[in-house]
Assembly symmetry: C2
Homo-oligomer: 539 residues x 2
């Protein structure tokens, strides 16, 4: 007799906290070194995000104390605005709760899992709560936070409340079974790269092994603040349109006005165009009346309209000057080339921008480094899951031979790629690798190839100079003999002839390119593809 | 003035369904081909799991219909026990609900996300519900399921209820924006590999492009059923111990009896050993009174006891004969070597077993294949996230030179690895790559190296035979001349001398190894490491 009864007696519902408790590796808690770096990563990105949101130059102090073997206490202190009493528990002790998940803006965190994941990991390894001190609007709140796994709700223990003239958040938590290590997967490397991409941040690291390390800010200028944008019509699925329509059905009485207000780049002119393209759908009806079929038709219509690209200034890259500067500081390379692409959209309408830099030779060769890829997403360094990341894959798959380089892995070369977007398509909740979205990969490829052309020109010039020098030397060898022979033949003075010949040689080999062959620069990747969006505008 | 108020007005809580709706790529819904294969993967693994649980030989029919451009309807039908009316909605329309998440047993699914993720993806691309027909205990229930994203609860539409003498579940759902393709990432390859690892399953695929394809079962024997085991002490964290103690505090009045009943391999003798090792903790107190400090001490005690390994028969590998058989069927290779390691534990106490097979030459060379890695986890083929998977990484990082092989990628070789465990450490919710757990990686390495030694012996024998043949030919060249010379010198008959010499040569070169050098087989990876657990036992 077939019976599924026993098994269904075991049917249960689980919370997202239980899920990540069982699958900690999905949040980056796997490996002793990685786990500790992950914790620093989560708290530091939250701190920089909080400062950015409030327009504050970040002052971040990371204090790591060794309490025993594989046992550490970590304190991350920032000078952000702090978190109000009502929210601090949820911010640290509830997964998928926060201000970031639903906002359409370039920010470092985007899930509302990071900090609560650390609070969980701290408790699971030490049994202790995470301590928070939040200085917010004149009051300092101190409390302890745990997660109730069954309900995914915070368990709070309020410790004190006192007046303060400070602002900012300090989070302290302990971890066991983790390791602090000076390596390219360690905390210092993480912070160093964070400083590289965030030159306006001052970061201090109290390293239990080596003492205090300062990474001072290199600019006092707060970078422009990324701003929230409305979704672009090209990024909208029928489901999104339906959901948005129902959400705004009391606010806007007509579909046409809802479209103009809920989405970016939808003007009245574009609505008229849509009316012509989608005659079946009544754009004057109440948004609540929109059906799935209507939504599918409107979305098809969206695809036929020429839209202005999403607001480009909503995204804030690291910037060409800063990347050059950082590269020179870190590597003292022979050459740096940085390219910044214009903003694009992926999946139809999610804006993103790629910037890439290549540093070559000099200190990179001296340090014995080869084929290094430094990955960033919204200025956050990605240290792990290297091989599963679209950035690494794309960089390594470029045909480097084209650019006068042999195997990428054997060259003294460092490639930096930063992807900035209102939604980074991470492969996992650990946010360490970018998924293989075709448009994103293409932009990474174009950005790196553009920079590689600069390297190619340089190397090709260098090679040519070398070739010319070699040939010049060859010719010079014959000057003496030739001059004697000519002097004998012509009866002229040998010294004069030597001088003349040398003049001719100098003249001939002084002008690169005079020998004929032109610089062969690969042009196949120039950005000649038409944009998917029309940047001339009616708005 | 620093102000965080505006931003905290946007503080929100989200459901796990909303999380995966925004991050569909984490469930494997990225890329048109991959998305469709992912759907098949989720439903087929559920079907095989259901049959296994009920001890039924699986008959699975996968019917894919092309409804339009990038628009498909998929029906997966099984002969499992079906799902009771009360659970079918949650099984398909609620994430993290089900019978699998919390069970400590080798099973294909382990998260309770797969089917509901497909239901979500179907709705997001078509606006349509997923249809289910469940024949359970004499009644057929037909219904439609949607997910309410805000609450992560199923929305049901019951269609009919009628008597039946059938059993099993049929799920039908539609998808847009997906692609069906004959490739090594496509549905057919997925099903072919499923059949390879599950020879007792009969799988029928109705391919819209090529028609009906049958993958009949190659054995009528139902493999032994993996069974649920209690957690092993070496896999327990202080948190686990505390949680278990509190959970069982009414059932068992003493810590000692709780330990013996809630965990595997804890005998009264072992409890006495623990009492001596952890004198601070009172093993007679009520489990509810256990503190974190107690739990930490007991867990430290656990680590000092020599435990019997977890029950090995709780895990069911594919099996040596079946892997050999499948390899021969698929590749017709020159040589197949299969190794099965003994069960081990990772993270202290999670039992797992690794089996590996290597097929070399023959049909692999003929098909132009090189360095292929076929990955399985609990007999489920893993087709995606190749480069981020510990299996691929481990296989590729083996020093294949040692085994008379050049670059792995350039050899006519296929390596199969199956990892069976009560909890596969996947890197992500999409369950396509195994995380880099050290113990697991070691076992994979040892298993593959063991098989590689077989290949090495074979190749070394082949090479030696070739060398001997070459040398023999060389010597034979001189027989004629030498025989003439000897005949002249000795006055003997040349024919006789030729015969003698040939006899000597035949004798000399007939025995491999007679020439001196021994087979050099790499022995450095033999499993001489002591087990972490004592397999002689007191139980």
């Amino acid at each position: 007799m077939v019976d599924g009864e026993n098994i269904f007696a075991q049917f249960k519902e689980h919370s997202v906290a239980e899920f990540f408790k069982k699958n900690q590796q999905m949040l980056g808690f796997s490996g002793k070194v990685r786990s500790l770096t992950t914790v620093v990563h989560e708290f530091v990105t939250n701190s920089i995000d909080a400062c950015e949101e409030a327009g504050i130059l970040p002052d971040i102090i990371v204090n790591l104390e060794e309490l025993g073997e594989e046992h550490y206490r970590l304190t991350v202190q920032d000078n952000g605005p702090g978190i109000p009493k009502t929210h601090v528990g949820k911010a640290l002790g509830q997964m998928l709760a926060g201000t970031k998940f639903h906002r359409y803006i370039q920010q470092r965190g985007q899930q509302g899992i990071g900090a609560s994941g650390c609070c969980m990991f701290s408790y699971l390894t030490t049994g202790k709560p995470t301590k928070a001190a939040s200085c917010y609007k004149g009051t300092k709140y101190e409390l302890e936070v745990l997660i109730d796994f069954k309900s995914n709700k915070p368990l709070l223990n309020m410790l004190s409340e006192s007046p303060t003239d400070q602002h900012g958040l300090t989070v302290t938590s302990e971890y066991k079974g983790v390791k602090h290590e000076q390596s390219n997967k360690g905390i210092f490397e993480y912070l160093r790269r964070t400083a590289l991409a965030n030159p306006h941040a001052s970061i201090t690291f109290m390293d239990p092994a080596t003492g205090k390390i300062s990474l001072p800010r290199s600019t006092e200028t707060i970078p422009p603040k990324p701003f929230e944008i409305k979704p672009h019509p090209l990024g909208i699925s029928p489901h999104d349109l339906l959901e948005t329509s129902h959400h705004y059905s009391t606010e806007y009485r007509k579909l046409s006005s809802m479209l103009q207000n809920a989405f970016s780049r939808v003007s009245s002119g574009k609505v008229e165009e849509l009316r012509r393209l989608v005659p079946d759908v009544d754009f004057d009806k109440n948004p609540a009346q929109l059906t799935w079929e209507d939504a599918e038709k409107v979305v098809k219509g969206f695809q036929q309209v020429k839209w202005i690209a999403p607001a480009t200034d909503s995204l804030v890259p690291i910037g060409r000057a800063q990347i050059e500067n950082s590269f020179r500081n870190i590597f003292s390379p022979e050459l740096v080339i940085v390219t910044e692409r214009s903003p694009k959209v992926y999946k139809g309408g999610i804006p993103f921008i790629v910037e890439a830099g290549i540093a070559y030779g000099g200190g990179i060769a001296a340090a014995g480094k080869q084929g290094e890829v430094m990955r960033f997403a919204n200025k956050v360094p990605l240290l792990f899951d290297t091989s599963g990341c679209a950035i690494t894959e794309t960089v390594k798959n470029i045909d480097w031979n084209r650019y006068n380089l042999k195997n990428f892995d054997d060259e003294p070369i460092a490639v930096l790629v930063n992807l900035a977007s209102v939604h980074i398509p991470y492969t996992g909740a650990g946010k360490q690798a970018v998924a293989a979205e075709e448009e994103v990969e293409n932009e990474i490829r174009f950005a790196v190839m553009e920079a590689a052309r600069g390297i190619q020109r340089y190397l090709s010039g260098k090679r040519k100079a070398h070739d010319i020098a070699t040939r010049k030397k060859l010719v010079e060898r014959y000057v003496e003999q030739l001059s004697s022979d000519l002097a004998d033949l012509s009866g002229g003075k040998k010294e004069k002839i030597v001088k003349k010949l040398n003049e001719i040689i100098e003249d001939k080999y002084a002008k690169p390119g005079a020998e004929g062959d032109e610089d062969e620069v690969d042009d196949s990747t120039r950005d000649t593809k038409p944009e998917t969006t029309d940047t001339g505008g009616d708005e």
